[in-house]
């Protein structure tokens, strides 16, 4: 079975595309059928991914299957649509298809009654297709193609409720910020194409093995990293992710938690041989990752909107993964990516069911005491939060621990400290949310809430189960099978150490305890904390005013400049032409008045002409003769 499916693994992205085409062209009048078709197509993709994963993980580690067909080729430039199936791809396929399937089932409940369901499912299957295409790509060109397609799908899905101004602006902001990242990514691709004449990963790694000309490699590596900065919302280009919460929650769950934002990390993993060859680039990645983690965690503390908190938490976790990659722990990064995908989508879907129950209310202070009305959502949400904070035996503990171990092993003490502090903050803000929203005293909001239908709760339960089990894959119990399959020669292999495990668990518990003290018991009231640290609180709440700075810069540099150039175009370039036209017309006018109708003036002009000609002729003859 595996041998049959492997060569035409391109079916995985093709089936959702066909679903998209069918819905888009014909079925958009019948929402029910289009939803069913979309879910059916992602289910097929899931099964295929399962088969492939089974096959890959039964074969010895490091086996790579590669097939490719001609797409765009001319003498000197060859970009083809190919398949690269190895352990890394298998894991990503599994993650994407499972989360996508569960989100699409969940959306049946969440989007009930929305007029645009057909187009919603069309965009969902298009997104799934482009994400899967990105994952199985065997060269950077093909990856860039699907990279941009994923970007446009996120634009369509964020702006799904295009009736709202905020949704429309958020969608544009998302796409433009991604585009800035893609600008760097495209330049890197151009550099590589010119330097090595190929974009295929295999050929690239072979031809780059001997290449040590640092002056070129550093810019290439950093530019290549620009792509992930944009896509995985790292520090300078992170502004779009919090605004992307305008889209429906299942979308945020799928795209802005599990899959799309992970694409950046996947690219770094896939092109690890480029980054690892450039130590300076590795430090840049690690530093940006670490900083983003800390930066986002601090902001998440002060947010009141449930989805914004989860968004900043995703930002911070992505920073974690990038930090892992930066310090060389590629396996730890990918492992954290996998586990994070499951429990973060669980948290988002949980938040979604809370929002549905609370009739579109997203401010956690208006919720309270939901645990009585919505037991399943509450408990699954708590499991997710525990996994996120890194409480053993859940999956978050194993992956975060790996990263901290890696930081210590690679000697980045500073990063280890940041990592530990961020773990503490994560536990703090997650349980702040739980205590305020689920166990909060404010009863007013909770009356009308009641548990959602099975179609929404079943995915929550499945995801909770997975996020519990997922951690074991790389734990010593299964003699870290995950690390066995997914590792890179240049990466570091930290051996597990008990002290780190204990210390990180203690930090997590401390975070939870602090949250319990402030929000459940109000021993230290949140109000005077806010009052005492007035300045810091306002800065954090306003997200370090970065959005305002970008807006100010944009207005000056882009719109202001555009007006100036437009003025220049109208008055100088057009002005110049109109001036020429005016001058010709004026000369015409002046010359016209030489004809004053008098015969004798005409005769005068005539003879003036003759005399002139005579003088010039005589002068010419004179020079000849004398």
């Amino acid at each position: 079975m595996f041998e049959f499916i492997l060569p035409n693994a391109w079916l995985i992205p093709l089936v959702p595309v066909l679903a998209f085409a069918l819905i888009g062209l014909f079925l958009h009048r019948w929402p029910k059928i289009s939803a069913a078709l979309s879910i059916f197509s992602i289910a097929i993709a899931f099964i295929l991914a399962l088969v492939i994963a089974g096959g890959v993980f039964s074969a010895p580690a490091g086996t790579v299957y590669e097939f490719s067909t001609r797409w765009l080729d001319m003498p000197g430039l060859q970009v083809d649509m190919g398949l690269l199936i190895d352990a890394l791809t298998a894991v990503m396929l599994l993650v994407v298809t499972t989360v996508a399937l569960l989100v699409q089932i969940y959306s049946l409940g969440y989007m009930k009654g929305d007029p645009g369901i057909a187009s919603y499912y069309a965009y969902q299957s298009l997104f799934a297709a482009s994400m899967l295409g990105l994952v199985i790509a065997n060269n950077l060109g093909q990856m860039f193609v699907f990279w941009e397609l994923v970007g446009i799908c996120s634009y369509l899905l964020i702006g799904f409720w295009f009736g709202k101004y905020s949704a429309r602006n958020a969608a544009i902001k998302a796409f433009i910020t991604n585009r800035v990242g893609d600008f760097g990514f495209l330049l890197a691709i151009l550099f590589l194409q010119i330097m090595f004449g190929t974009l295929n990963f295999g050929e690239l790694s072979d031809s780059m093995a001997g290449f040590t000309n640092m002056t070129i490699l550093i810019p290439v590596a950093i530019l290549l990293f620009c792509g992930p900065i944009g896509k995985s919302a790292q520090f300078p280009l992170h502004v779009w992710l919090p605004d992307a919460m305008e889209g429906p929650t299942p979308v945020s769950a799928l795209i802005h938690a599990a899959t799309m934002v992970a694409a950046g990390v996947y690219l770094v993993a896939r092109a690890f041989f480029i980054f690892s060859a450039v130590p300076q680039a590795m430090t840049v990645i690690a530093v940006i990752g670490g900083f983003t983690a800390l930066f986002a965690a601090t902001i998440a503390l002060t947010q009141n909107d449930i989805k914004r908190i989860l968004a900043y938490s995703t930002l911070s976790q992505l920073g974690y993964m990038m930090m892992a990659m930066g310090i060389g722990a590629m396996t730890a990064g990918m492992f954290h990516l996998m586990t994070h995908a499951f429990f973060k989508s669980l948290l988002f879907l949980g938040a979604g069911s809370v929002i549905v129950a609370m009739h579109e209310e997203q401010d956690i202070w208006k919720m309270g005491g939901l645990y009585k009305k919505m037991p399943i959502t509450t408990w699954t949400f708590i499991i997710g939060a525990l996994a996120l904070s890194g409480i053993p035996p859940l999956s978050g503990f194993w992956s975060k621990d790996e990263i901290l171990l890696g930081a210590l092993a690679s000697g980045h003490i500073g990063l280890y400290i940041i990592g530990a502090f961020v773990a503490f903050l994560t536990a703090l803000y997650m349980f702040r949310l739980i205590f305020v929203a689920f166990f909060g005293s404010n009863k007013a909001g909770a009356e009308k809430a009641q548990e959602n239908s099975a179609v929404m709760t079943v995915p929550l339960i499945i995801l909770a189960a997975i996020s519990v089990v997922a951690g074991l894959v790389n734990s010593p119990l299964m003699h870290n099978a995950f690390g066995h399959y997914i590792n890179s020669p240049a990466g570091i292999e930290p051996h597990p150490s008990l002290i780190i495990m204990i210390s990180s668990t203690v930090i997590a518990l401390a975070g939870i305890a602090m949250a319990w003290l402030i929000y459940q018991k109000q021993v230290i009231s949140a109000e005077d904390l806010k009052y005492r640290f007035e300045g810091i609180y306002k800065v954090l709440y306003h997200k370090y005013y970065i959005d305002e700075i970008y807006a100010w810069l944009g207005a000056r540099l882009v719109d202001g400049m555009a007006k100036v150039l437009y003025w220049f175009d109208i008055y100088v370039v057009n002005g110049f032409i109109n001036a020429i036209a005016y001058v010709t017309a004026i000369t015409g006018e002046v010359l016209k008045f030489t004809e004053d109708g008098q015969v004798q003036t005409y005769a005068l002009y005539m003879f003036a002409g003759i005399v002139l000609l005579l003088v010039s002729a005589l002068y010419a003859v004179y020079t000849v003769l004398i």
Binding site: R70, W71, L72, D73, M74, P75, G76, L77, V79, G141, F144, V145, F146, E148, L149, I152, Y155, G159, F162, G163, K164, Y165, A167, R168, N169, A171, I172, F175, I176, R179, V180, D182, F183, L186, L187, L190, F191, Q193, I194, V558, D559, M561, A562, K563, L565, Y566, D569, V573, N574, F576, I577
Partner: protein, 502 residues
């Protein structure tokens, strides 16, 4: 099938249609429209037959026809298509056919409109199909007058009066063509001087190696003439006003095809016949091209009128084509040609949609609209398709063009291409901002009376949309053809394959 004059039929079908229309009585609009549709459909069908029938492995000029025309000037009515001109001919027919449908519900003076439109299509197609310099120039100038008449009769007065726009357009292009004529004549005279045989055949002229200083002078004339047509940076003043003033069908053909004559001319005559001249002047064109890209993209951001946005954006896209040509290597010229095809189809679709919207709402100002996706979903699909194509989304033929140009130009002009690539950010910004303001946002009651596209109005969306998607998803259909054409050209001229010359 080989001696059947298929190219002449493609070329003259619209003209015959125009003549039939002229004989029809003025009032029965239906018959006029059907004849226009049939004649353009016939030439579209035949050009598809040629597109498929073209033997890609053989390459070079095929479907050749030759009738001696003026003996002492060595002019013969010579038609033929190769890798470079076939896609552009197909483009002309695609846009011509959809232009007829885009102006389906014109009311006044239908007879003159469709007659002039069909003459315009023949004129524009002529330049791509002929391999004779004189006939090329003849068709190059024939096009200008129908455009002027259509702009002043059916144009719209927005920032400038339509008469001003029409006249500026005409005079600008004609001054350009005056310099082109001087270039062509001196080329012809010098060739006659060197070989003693008066000939206007491009292939023959390409075999002669002219002295370098002469090549530079003539290429400078050509660069100016084709530059004005391609709206190169300092000479672009006519194109935004020209589009805004023109009726839909004219701006479709104008932006879609007429600009491409400039690009085609630069390649076919500039590179093919005067390589040394091209080599020396190429850096100047490259710098202007980048000016084109960034300058026009920036201005688009501040524009409020839809047609001006598309006008300035096509000036910016033409910057890409120019840098592609100026990089003088196989990949970048391939990219330039496919970019011309892509931009043609995209701009035509955009203008068709804007025209349709303008017909119904009588305003093109972006701020007047909002939330049109509620009332006109099909129109929004059209707008989105054109918008996404113009910002170079993969899966659409524009991306193929842009990517190939960037790869090709990067090997020759590193810094300029980096600035050029930054253009994709600004393009994305103004396109999404414009589409966002027009299509999305809350529903507005005053636009409830607008009814969506139906029946004939869908044809431009289907035909051009299909071209954009097929070209984008299966680029090898176009790319093999073009690279075979450009390959022959480069081999014949002897430029280095990848690195260009600089």
């Amino acid at each position: 099938m080989n001696n059947f004059p298929i190219l002449s039929l493609i070329l003259l079908a619209p003209l015959i249609g125009a003549i039939i229309i002229m004989c029809l009585p003025k009032d029965n609009g239906k018959a006029i429209k059907y004849i226009a549709a049939i004649s353009t459909f016939l030439s579209l069908l035949l050009s598809l037959v040629v597109f498929i029938g073209y033997d890609r492995s053989l390459g070079g000029m095929q479907f050749v026809e030759k009738i001696p025309w003026i003996a002492d000037l060595g002019v013969n009515y010579a038609l033929g298509v190769d890798g470079i001109s076939l896609p552009l001919m197909l483009l002309t027919n695609l846009i011509g056919f959809s232009a007829v449908y885009a102006s389906w519900n014109n009311k006044e003076r239908i007879k003159e409109f469709f007659a002039l439109l069909l003459i315009l299509i023949t004129g524009v197609m002529g330049t791509f199909v002929t391999t004779d310099l004189f006939i090329f120039f003849l068709f190059y100038e024939v096009v200008v007058i129908p455009i002027y008449l259509m702009v002043i009769m059916w144009g719209s007065t927005k920032r400038v009066t339509k008469e001003y726009a029409g006249m500026k357009l005409t005079i600008y292009l004609l001054i350009g063509s005056a310099f082109l004529m001087v270039g062509l004549i001196s080329l012809f005279i010098k060739a006659k001087g060197i070989t003693g045989v008066p000939s206007m055949d491009m292939a023959f002229l390409a075999t002669i190696d002219f002295p370098v200083s002469f090549q530079v002078m003539v290429f400078a004339f050509m660069a100016f003439a084709f530059g004005t047509l391609l709206s190169m940076f300092p000479f672009h003043a006519w194109s935004p006003d020209g589009y805004a003033g023109a009726p839909t069908a004219v701006s479709m053909i104008h932006a879609g095809v007429l600009k491409k004559i400039g690009g085609y001319g630069l390649i076919r005559i500039g590179l093919f016949i005067l390589p040394a001249g091209a080599q020396i002047i190429a850096p100047i064109i490259a710098v202007l091209a980048i000016g084109n890209v960034v300058y026009a993209a920036y201005i688009c951001i501040s524009q409020k009128d839809l047609k001006y946005i598309v006008g300035y954006s096509s000036v910016s896209h033409m910057g890409y084509v120019l840098i592609g040509i100026a990089a003088l290597n196989l990949i970048s010229i391939n990219g330039a040609i496919i970019m011309m095809f892509a931009h043609g189809v995209m701009a035509a679709l955009f203008f068709a949609m804007i025209g349709n919207l303008y017909e119904k709402s009588h305003t093109r100002n972006v701020d007047d609209f909002g939330g049109l996706a509620h009332q006109m979903p099909r129109l929004s699909v059209g707008f989105m398709l054109a918008g996404l194509a113009s910002l170079g989304l993969p899966g659409m033929v524009n991306f193929i063009g842009e990517f190939t140009i960037f790869v090709g130009a990067f090997s020759t002009y590193k810094v300029l291409t980096i600035i050029g690539v930054s253009g994709i950010i600004f393009t994305a910004l103004y396109i999404l901002r414009a589409l966002g303001n027009v299509l999305f946002g809350p529903r507005r009651e005053e636009w409830d009376h607008l009814q969506d596209l139906k029946g004939p109005e869908m044809v431009p969306l289907i035909v051009l949309g299909a071209a954009i998607l097929i070209g984008g998803i299966f680029p090898f259909t176009l790319m093999d053809l073009i690279s075979s054409g450009v390959g022959d050209l480069i081999a014949q001229v002897g430029l280095v394959q990848i690195g260009g010359i600089l």
